[in-house]
Structure formats: structure tokens, C-alpha cells
């Protein structure tokens, strides 16, 4: 693996074996994360973005879930290269919280209500750094200070319910960063928060990334947040990556019809003065994961759908130049304006 890279995921497949059939939640996803960069994974519900992040932590509930294929190379803090898909549980336990940390959408449910926040932050420090409880609590107070919680020493003895949603998310971030991870996985970290609080948390994450230098895998459905946070973007649809590019081309020159559709369907305040009368919605619904459409899973909703071409084979991920990847057989035609929309 390239030295610049921290993570390299190749052809990851996570399937869920349910009574109703096999759900291919993630079906052949590849991406990489460079050191110190933020990769955003965008998608709607059911696209497989959260499952991808859980797979990297090896937290897929099994049964019914299983990583059925692919590689997840990760360079640990000790410099060793590991395939997370194959490591045993003991090794994973050393990696989790230490090399890779995770913050979740719901700071309410991901903190333990019966322990103080000090105890919860200290737990990981004691476990991974072998410090005494007293030292760990001191470090926990420093972490709370770092994430902008006033009077951190006093706050150590607070329980989660004594804090607001924004404060709890700060505690989660403090906990995640307490062991200096090289990768922070943030799964919709601001979705449950009000916009003014979201702005605070995003600013905080950017500031901490500059100071600590960790990479971030940012999972979200909010395109505004992506534009703000990401260096590169992977767009997922129905378990597959359909486009991958640097953040500016993703927004300025999207190649996949789904990405274009998503961008057009968001109401934009900055265009308020000139906006058109109607939003351009993507017709139809997200497909049922138990019976995905044949060929390109997006074809029933795509305005560039061509019978006999799009509904026969799953398109390969192609390089459109400069590392801009797209999974659409008609992307070149569409770019040239030759593809006729249905």
C-alpha cells in the first residue's frame, strides 16, 4: 500500500442473511483514505454507508451480518499493515478506540447513562494506555477542555443526562480522541443536532483535525456538511460506490446521474435570489435491498436510462481522469451532452 495511505478498502462485501433473503448491504465497495484527510461517504438510507463504517470496526452484528469478501488494509500506529477483515477479535479490541475511534449520530444512546462522563472517557485511557485511574481522569479533564467544555474538572462527575445534545457530542468526541487515533469514523455526527450546534461541532472537528492530524471518515447524507468538511467524496447508492472524486469536482462536475440528481434536489439558500420555481426531484423510491433492479441499481430512477444497456450488467467503476471514478456506462455520452434523457 502507498505510504500516503492510511486505509485501503478493496471490494468490500457485507451481506445480511435474513429470513426473507440475502441483503447485500455493501456489495463491492473500494476506497482509500490518505493520512490527515477527510473522506466523506454520502448516501441515502439503505445505501450501505453506515454498514461500511461498522465493517471497518468489525462491529457488524453476526448473525445475520457477515463480511463475505474484500480487504480492508489499515496502517496501525505501530506502523504495521493489517487487513481488518481478517484480524482476530483480540487484535480488533486493541485497535478499536486506540487506532480507530468512532462517534455516532445519537450522543444520547451511545453514552452509558449510569456512568459519569469522566469514568467513560477514562475507561478507554486506562484500557489502551495503561494509565492509573487518577491519571486517566486528569487526561479526561484535558480532553474535555480540548473539546470546549467549560469547567472540565467539574464536568467529569456529570452524568450524560445532565448535558445538552451538543455537549454530549463533545463528550463523545473527547472520548474518541483520548487515545490519539489515526482514524476517526464519524457516522452522521451532527444529524441529530440543531444547525447552530452543528456549526459548533463541525468547527471543532476541523480544529482538532488540524491539531491532531487524524484522518476522518465522515458518513453523512447532508451535502452541505460534505462540502464543508470533505477533501474527497464517495457517493453510495444501493450498496455500491457510484462516484468518487475530490470535493470540488463532485459538486462542480458530477459525472453520475444520481450525484447530479442529489445535488439538484437540495433546496439552496445561497441561490435564493435566483432560484427556479421547482426543485428537480429524483423520481421513484430507493429500491428494496432484497430485490435490487438488474444492471445499474439506479436505472429505474435515471433520466438517462437506456433499455438493453443499463438494465443488463452492473456497470464497472471507471476512471474518468484525475482519479475521478464513476460507475455509469453512459457517463461520457452524458458529459458530451449526447445522451438523450428519457
Amino acid at each position: 500500500m502507498d505510504d500516503k495511505r492510511l486505509v485501503e478498502v478493496t471490494d468490500l462485501k457485507v451481506h445480511f442473511f435474513t429470513d426473507d433473503g440475502v441483503v447485500k448491504a455493501v456489495d463491492g465497495v473500494s476506497f482509500h483514505i490518505n493520512k490527515g484527510e477527510t473522506l466523506a461517504v454520502v448516501g441515502e438510507s439503505g445505501s450501505g454507508k453506515s454498514v461500511t463504517s461498522l465493517a471497518m470496526m468489525r462491529l457488524i452484528p453476526s448473525p445475520p451480518g457477515k463480511i463475505v469478501g474484500g480487504r480492508m488494509l489499515f496502517r496501525g500506529k505501530d506502523g504495521q499493515l493489517r487487513d481488518l477483515a481478517k484480524e482476530d477479535e483480540a487484535t480488533m479490541r486493541r485497535i478499536r478506540g486506540n487506532d480507530i475511534a468512532m462517534i455516532f449520530q445519537e450522543p444520547m444512546t451511545s453514552l452509558n447513562p449510569v456512568y459519569t462522563v469522566g469514568d467513560q472517557i477514562a475507561e478507554a485511557i486506562v484500557l489502551h494506555q495503561g494509565k492509573s485511574k487518577k491519571e486517566a481522569l486528569e487526561q479526561a479533564a484535558e480532553m474535555l477542555d480540548l473539546v470546549g467544555i467549560p469547567e472540565p474538572k467539574k464536568r467529569l462527575s456529570n452524568y450524560p443526562h445532565q448535558m445538552s445534545g451538543g455537549m454530549r457530542q463533545r463528550v463523545m468526541i473527547a472520548m474518541a480522541l483520548s487515545c490519539n487515533p489515526s482514524l476517526l469514523i464519524a457516522d452522521e455526527p451532527t444529524t441529530a443536532l440543531d444547525v447552530t450546534i452543528q456549526a459548533q461541532i463541525l468547527e471543532l472537528m476541523k480544529k482538532l483535525q488540524e491539531e491532531i492530524g487524524m484522518s476522518i471518515l465522515f458518513i453523512t447524507h447532508n451535502l452541505g456538511v460534505v462540502a464543508e468538511m470533505a477533501d474527497r467524496v464517495v457517493v453510495m447508492y444501493a450498496g455500491r460506490a457510484v462516484e468518487e472524486a475530490d470535493v470540488v469536482p463532485t459538486f462542480k462536475k458530477p459525472l453520475h446521474p444520481y450525484t447530479m440528481g442529489l445535488l439538484n434536489s437540495v433546496p439552496r439558500l445561497d441561490l435564493a435570489a435566483t432560484h427556479q420555481q421547482r426543485l428537480e426531484a429524483i423520481p421513484g423510491n430507493v429500491p428494496n435491498p432484497l430485490s435490487l433492479p438488474a444492471g445499474c441499481a439506479f436505472h429505474p430512477r435515471c433520466k438517462f436510462f437506456k433499455p438493453g444497456l443499463c438494465d443488463t450488467e452492473i456497470p464497472a467503476l471507471q476512471d474518468a481522469g484525475d482519479g475521478h471514478m464513476v460507475r455509469c456506462v453512459r457517463w461520457a455520452e452524458i458529459q458530451k451532452g449526447e445522451a438523450v434523457s428519457a
Binding site: 447552530t196 462540502a227 464543508e228 437540495v266 439558500l269 426543485l279
Partner: protein, 334 residues
């Protein structure tokens, strides 16, 4: 009554004056009221016939309580609600029903707001039965088919159950149910917040079409300013139970005059990585509505706050034609 000063050229279908809703907190052995959650604290506004009034605010701002109080799903503590000229604040239940037919609600959660044991046909027909409309079963069925068609669902879906539909389709069912009794006024409480981005646009477009087609008056409640700006003619911004600013929607975005609106707008991330704006990050959290700050409720997080803000409760006053703000500082954001 600076706000509710009626517009002489248009009539208000709904008019709310000095509305208050305090939820008591009881404590002690005698269950005495020890404090009040001041969810809505002196709010006045009108919704003109045929307009969409957006109501935005963060969680705890009281926007949902306003919507439900107007429909008398929650009884107001003080103030009055007028619908089509009639004061309905204290109307007894039997008389209220006639008004209920004329005002309906669409809920946020398309999963929780549909009875899982009823078919789609029964769900949509229920308000017709309750209000004794359309008489025969045959006429009702025809009306249901017509409604399904109106919201873009297939009329063959009548016999299906809610779980067979996706979130966006369920929200369409909720809309069809609300429209069944041919209401004039609809409270749409976060109707698209639970939906995926690509589906959200479909439902926003549907609401816009229905408004045109049926001449509906809508109170559109949401926390997403971009969606609200898109669909609304005018927008009211709430914070801690009070209206901070009320203006025509484009005007509000292009020229916010209240410090809270200014900060709220700047907090919204723009889906364009090449735009780099200077952001006003509000410090701290929204204070508790049990014990809101004295004077202006926003002053504790306001970057323009002066000593006087702690003592004077700002009136909502007109600062430009149709543009109201509740802020004593006339020297800023003009």
C-alpha cells in the same frame, strides 16, 4: 398589538394574538405548580388566505406547540386564535368540530402517524366518516381513489397497509388523509424532515402543486431554513417561545435584520465547496424555557447584546414594509 396590525389589503384566514402556552411542572406532595415551561410566550401573527407561512426555529423554540395550539390540539394558556374571523379560542368541542374540518395537520413521522392495522383506503376515508361527508360508501371510495391520484399514488393501493410503503409514499398517504375533508388550512409540521434528500424534493413539489391547485393556506413548520425559504411566501423565525423576525421569505434570507436570523443563516452549510463564508458560530446552547433570560431571550448568545437588552423585552416591530423584528438595536443589520 404591533404585529397583529391587520393588513388592510388582504384578509387573514388565521390570526393568532398574544398566544401563550405554558406547560406546568408540578412537584411536592401536593402537586403544586413549581414552575412553567414557557413553550410559547406571547406570539402574534396572521396567515393570509392562500399563503404559505413558514415557521422555523431550533428544537425547543415552540414552533410545533404554536401549530398544535392553533388547531386546539393543545389548549392555549392565554391569547386568542381566530379562524376566518371567528374566535375559536374557547369554542366548545361540539362547535369546534365544524372548524376542525376546515383545518388539518400533516405530521413529521410518516411511520408513527399512520395506524399499521388499517388499510390505506380506511386511513384516508376515516376523516370522511368522522365528518359524515360523501354519504355512501361508494362515494367515499371514489373520493379516496381521487385523493390517491391527487398525491401521486396508484388508486390500486387502497387495500394495502402502511408498512408496504416507503417513507415518501407514507407521507403522501398522510397528505391525502389531511386533504380528504377539503380543508382550507393545513398545519404541516416538519413534513419532510424524516425523508431522504431525493424524496424530500418530491414531497415539497407535491405540496407546492397542491397549494396552487386547491388554493390551500399552509403553516409550514420546519427546522430546515432552506426548505422553508423554498416553499414559503413569508417566514417567521422563533427562538425560545418568541418570534424574533417575520418577513417575506426572500427578504429574510437576503437581508436578515435580527441577529439570531443572521447567525442561523450563517450556520447552514452550503452545498458548494468553493464558497467560503465567514461563519458566525453561536456560543453555548439554547437556554431552558423554564427560566428564559430576562429582557430579550436571545441576548445570552447574541454578539450585539448591550446592557439594555437584559432589561427591555423587545417588541416585534415593522422595520421595513412587511419586515418585522424583535430587537431593540435599530443601529445594526439594516
Amino acid at each position: 398589538m404591533s404585529v397583529a396590525a391587520p393588513d388592510t389589503t388582504t384578509t387573514h384566514l388565521v390570526e393568532v394574538t398574544h398566544l401563550k402556552k405554558w406547560f406546568p411542572i408540578r412537584g411536592g406532595i401536593l402537586s403544586r405548580v413549581v414552575a412553567n415551561v414557557k413553550a410559547v410566550n406571547d406570539v402574534s401573527f396572521g396567515v393570509k388566505k392562500g399563503e404559505v407561512l413558514g415557521l422555523v426555529g431550533e428544537s425547543g423554540s415552540g414552533k410545533t406547540t404554536v401549530g398544535r395550539t392553533i388547531l386546539r390540539l393543545i389548549e392555549p394558556t392565554e391569547g386568542s386564535i381566530r379562524f376566518d374571523g371567528q374566535d375559536i379560542t374557547h369554542l366548545p368541542k361540539n362547535q369546534l368540530r365544524a372548524y376542525r374540518r376546515r383545518m388539518q395537520i400533516i405530521f413529521q413521522d410518516p411511520f408513527a402517524s399512520l395506524n399499521p392495522r388499517m388499510t390505506v383506503g380506511d386511513i384516508i376515508a376515516e376523516p370522511l366518516v368522522i365528518h359524515n361527508l360523501e354519504g355512501s360508501a361508494k362515494a367515499r371510495n371514489e373520493r379516496v381513489a381521487e385523493l390517491l391520484d391527487l398525491v401521486g399514488l396508484n388508486a390500486e393501493h387502497v387495500r394495502r397497509y402502511p408498512h408496504e410503503f416507503s417513507g415518501g409514499q407514507r407521507q403522501r398517504i398522510g397528505i391525502a388523509r389531511a386533504l380528504a375533508v377539503r380543508p382550507e388550512f393545513i398545519v404541516a409540521d416538519e413534513p419532510v424532515s424524516a425523508l431522504d434528500v431525493s424524496i424530500q424534493a418530491q414531497v415539497v413539489n407535491l405540496l407546492q402543486d397542491l397549494k396552487e391547485q386547491l388554493g390551500l393556506t399552509i403553516l409550514f413548520i420546519a427546522h430546515d431554513l432552506a426548505v422553508v425559504e423554498y416553499i414559503s411566501d413569508r417566514v417567521a423565525v422563533m427562538y425560545l417561545g418568541k418570534i424574533m423576525e417575520l418577513a417575506p421569505s426572500r427578504d429574510l434570507y437576503l437581508n436578515p435584520r435580527h441577529p439570531y436570523t443572521e447567525a442561523l443563516l450563517s450556520a447552514i452549510p452550503t452545498p458548494d465547496p468553493t464558497v467560503k463564508r465567514e461563519r458566525i458560530v453561536l456560543q453555548g446552547d439554547i437556554p431552558s424555557p423554564i427560566n428564559p433570560p430576562s429582557g430579550c431571550v436571545f441576548r445570552t448568545r447574541c454578539r450585539y447584546a448591550i446592557a439594555e437588552c437584559a432589561t427591555t423585552v423587545p417588541e416585534l416591530k415593522e422595520v421595513a414594509p412587511g419586515h418585522f423584528k424583535a430587537c431593540i438595536r435599530d443601529d445594526i443589520l439594516n
